[in-house]
């Protein structure tokens, strides 16, 4: 059993980074995630010798991530929506050069400077690309402070398994709220001896170079196909989701992150009124848990997808069910968090009355 603590989501992210034997963090302050850099500045270097550096911008921070990841180090950065937008060029390069790293977006309301209140409007950006070219991030969606801890460790494992950046798509509410967490034991910072890492040309081996530049079209197509094959493997091996009450369910609520927790309460209220509602909560947004939705679709009366945006994940839910059940959406934007009562009311209005 690990140590139990009451922690803020952002601090838990930072603590998990230290515990996971992370070698370096490069970041830039932005609300609502600045506690990550602040917490690391106090604790990280002192405890593990981890490099913590405040960059001059998110653009610089993500390129520092590229450099350290290219040297085979375990590295992570965090930001919030406008900052993540600034990082997109670098993220595309990281995906193209196949470098492992973990990123976290403590999502706030957009577009533009938007609001510092929580939102989920960056689903498309995280799941469908964000930067230029054909690439995917492996996207994890924590819905508790506990998962802010667990997914950092899991994120590093998956990033290194696939040589691909992993994104934790979380939001301002989970970043700011305090919950009890169980921490995992301190892992050592170790040399991972990646054969591709630029640590100085081996005396008896070939030099290594990290690049995403390939001028010959046919060769570059092959590299693209190799990258696509990794995504296919992720779809086969890394799909993660949780279900509640699906056995007898006539209706399914779905949402990710904070949305899934509110849905869970709405489901409970609905059950008290006699509606047979179940919950499907994707933990990986890419790869998306298509199968569970496809399996449920023929035997249920409908799905209500709840998000803190104008309807983004709902597109993937609809693609998954292929028209075999009705999929409706309820969302709030601009930093507004929907209440369980209003979700249930919307459900009744849409499906019952």
């Amino acid at each position: 059993m690990g140590q139990k603590k009451l922690m803020k989501g952002n601090e838990a992210l930072a603590e998990a980074m230290i515990l996971a034997g992370c070698d370096a963090y490069f970041g830039y302050p932005i609300t609502p995630q600045s506690e990550v850099l602040e917490y690391l500045a106090i604790h990280a270097t002192k405890r593990t010798g981890m490099v913590v550096l405040q960059a001059e911008s998110e653009v610089s921070a993500i390129n520092m991530i590229y450099g350290a990841a290219g040297a085979g180090k375990r590295v992570m950065t965090t930001s919030s929506s406008p900052g993540i937008s600034l990082m997109q060029e670098g993220i595309s390069y990281i995906a193209g050069a196949e470098l492992p790293c973990v990123l976290a977006n403590v999502n706030r309301g957009g577009p533009g400077l938007g609001t510092i209140q929580p939102a989920q409007g960056d689903y498309f950006q995280s799941v469908k690309g964000g930067g230029h070219g054909d690439y995917h991030l492996l996207v994890l969606a924590p819905n508790s402070v506990q998962e802010m801890v667990d997914f950092v460790k899991l994120g590093f494992e998956l990033a290194e398994k696939y040589r691909n950046p992993v994104m934790l798509l979380t939001d301002g509410a989970i970043g700011q709220m305090m919950e009890k967490v169980e921490l995992f034991p301190q892992m050592e910072r170790i040399d991972r001896h990646f054969p591709w890492a630029t640590t100085g040309k081996p005396k008896d081996g070939e030099r290594r170079f990290i690049t995403s530049l390939h001028i010959e079209s046919e060769l570059f197509e092959k590299i693209n196909l190799h990258i696509q094959a990794k995504y296919k493997q992720m779809e086969e091996e890394e799909v993660r989701y949780q279900t509640t009450n699906i056995e007898d369910a006539e209706y399914i609520f779905t949402g990710f992150g904070l949305g899934s927790r509110i849905c869970s309460k709405a489901m409970q209220l609905g059950r008290e009124k006699g509606y047979k509602i179940g919950l499907v909560r994707p933990q990986t947004l890419f790869p998306f848990p298509k199968k569970i939705f496809a399996e449920l679709a023929p035997r249920i009366k409908g799905i209500l997808d709840v998000e803190m945006n104008a309807g983004q994940m709902v597109e993937d839910v609809r693609l998954s069910v292929e028209g075999k059940t009705r999929v409706e959406f309820y969302g709030r934007m601009g930093g507004v968090i929907p209440s369980p009562d209003e979700i249930l009311e919307h459900f009744e209005k849409t499906f019952i009355k």
Binding site: D23, A24, F26, V51, L53, A55, E56, S57, V59, S60, A61, N63, M64, I65, Y66, G67, A68, G70, A71, K73, V75, E89, G90, Y93, A97, T198, T199, G200, K201, P202, K203, R207, R208, F209, I210, T211, S212, L213
Partner: protein, 264 residues
């Protein structure tokens, strides 16, 4: 004298490798350079790799290549390298050095990369006193994209995007990044050189060696600027372009040390 050195004509056979006094540095690969004939990049690559050879740090150095003509520097330098996004080489080099402080780290950047799109990364890496060497090739033009105006293009100089000559009232003034960085306390060494003559090549090489030696001593950020040519985009022969460097560029970008550390 070894009698094998005398061939049948009675002259020394200087072609035999064992008698060569001039050799390609060991750390340059066999790959043919893609640079235009007469371009300064080839010479700059060569002297950096000679320094790597002389210091014996081939297995201990990581280079960062930019976006621009030298985007493929990693094909020629037989060392571990990373290719950075346009302008971000100093950020990439910062992270490599910070996570591996016992390695030598340098970036190789052109004027568009270092002094336009990457100005913020350059200035802040310098101001943090990152213990890295930055080799800055200033040829006053965008080479890779075929001759557009650079931040360092001279006043009045014709490029494809300043077709009537750079008008400082419209397009601003050339940025003297060396003078700018020399003001920062984190910067230990700023020096400007050229590779248009044999004497200048020797001095430039010495400066690069100084930079690596200062890095070994942990003195901070070094900028070695090399004023260079771009015959293709200047629409000149290599000789004419070297003359342009001598007569136009060097008077505007004077050679020599702008800042030097006091080494005990």
């Amino acid at each position: 004298m070894n009698e094998n050195m005398i061939n049948e004509t009675g002259l020394e056979d200087i072609r035999l490798p064992e008698y060569c006094v001039y050799q390609k540095p060991q750390t340059l690969t066999e790959r043919e350079l893609h640079y235009c004939p007469g371009c300064g990049h080839g010479v700059a690559h060569k002297i950096i790799m000679e320094v790597v050879d002389e210091l014996g740090i081939q297995n201990n150095v990581i280079g960062v290549a930019p976006v621009g003509c030298s985007v493929f520097a990693y094909h020629y330098m037989n060392i571990d390298m990373q290719e950075a996004a346009h302008g971000r080489a100093c950020a990439v080099a910062t992270a490599i050095k910070r996570t591996m402080p016992d390695k030598y780290v340098f970036s190789y950047q052109g004027d568009g990369d270092l002094a336009a799109i990457g100005t913020a990364e350059t200035i802040h890496a310098a101001n943090r006193g990152e213990n890295i060497v930055v080799v800055f090739i200033n040829n006053g033009i965008y080479g890779m994209t075929s001759g557009q105006m650079a931040p360092t293009t001279l006043p009045g100089m014709v490029t494809t995007t300043s077709p009537y000559g750079r008008d400082t009232a419209v397009q601003g003034f050339p940025l003297k990044i060396g003078e700018l960085l020399a003001l920062l306390p984190g910067v230990c060494y700023v020096t400007r050189h050229a590779v248009n003559t044999v004497a200048n090549v020797r001095k430039a090489k010495k400066a690069i060696k100084n930079g690596f030696e200062y890095q070994a001593k942990g003195l901070g950020f070094s900028l070695i600027e090399i004023v260079s040519n771009c015959p293709s985009n200047m629409k000149m022969t290599p000789l004419e372009s070297n003359k342009f460097v001598e007569e136009k560029m060097i008077p505007f970008y004077p050679l020599g040390d702008l800042k030097k550390p006091e080494v005990k």
